[in-house]
Symmetry: C2
Subunit: 120 residues, 2 copies
């Protein structure tokens, strides 16, 4: 018996069954984005090998890249100690951010305000 | 005028004012953990230079390392395109995970179940 007998994320721990999923570039280690997954999108991610999230705004499955072509091919999946956060190591096609930056985290907080830094 | 006039995270976009914050090792690029921040913990993080989260279980400020000594000294802070996720690049003292692993993401999901992988 282990503390977390589940073999994957525990979606009961999420808000409305949603857990945060971090996408990290498998090659560069760059953190690309954070989105949310429910059980359905997680299952679809494992089955297809393509990162599939749950769009909170559209309330629907969101297969990353389906409209943009900026697919995320999943190489490895990790869960954290509480089984309530998912980490995907992905091969990113094109930019991850819908604003055209390689990573969604393209703005650094500095004493002088936000500074755009594109690591792409 | 910019699309996001805020100079930092938009805590109004969070659940109960909480936004996910990713801690990434500034040297190795390893994703260490994900925790949550409210405005107070974010302000404290910037003021002190030490990662300070909001403990959802204890409903209180959680200065990482205060009891364990496993501090996270913040080198850089980023926000994502929606200003609703925070990325901290930190110097991690000791293991980030309370279970003794360098990263909380020490379990990989594989076809054979969970596999413990400590990158520490």
């Amino acid at each position: 018996m282990t503390e977390h007998p589940t073999q994957g994320p525990d979606f009961n721990r999420g808000n409305n069954g949603l857990l945060p999923a971090i996408a990290q570039d498998a090659s560069s280690g760059q953190v690309l984005m954070l989105a949310y997954m429910n059980q359905q999108s997680y299952d679809e991610t494992l089955a297809s090998g393509q990162a599939t999230y749950w769009s909170r705004s559209r309330q629907s499955l969101w297969k990353k890249g389906e409209t943009s072509g900026h697919w995320q091919t999943v190489e490895e999946v990790f869960i954290d100690c509480d089984a309530d956060t998912i980490l995907l190591k992905v091969q990113q096609q094109g930019p991850a951010c819908h604003e055209g930056y390689q990573s969604c985290f393209y703005r650094q907080v500095t004493d002088e305000g936000l500074r755009v830094i594109d690591h792409g």
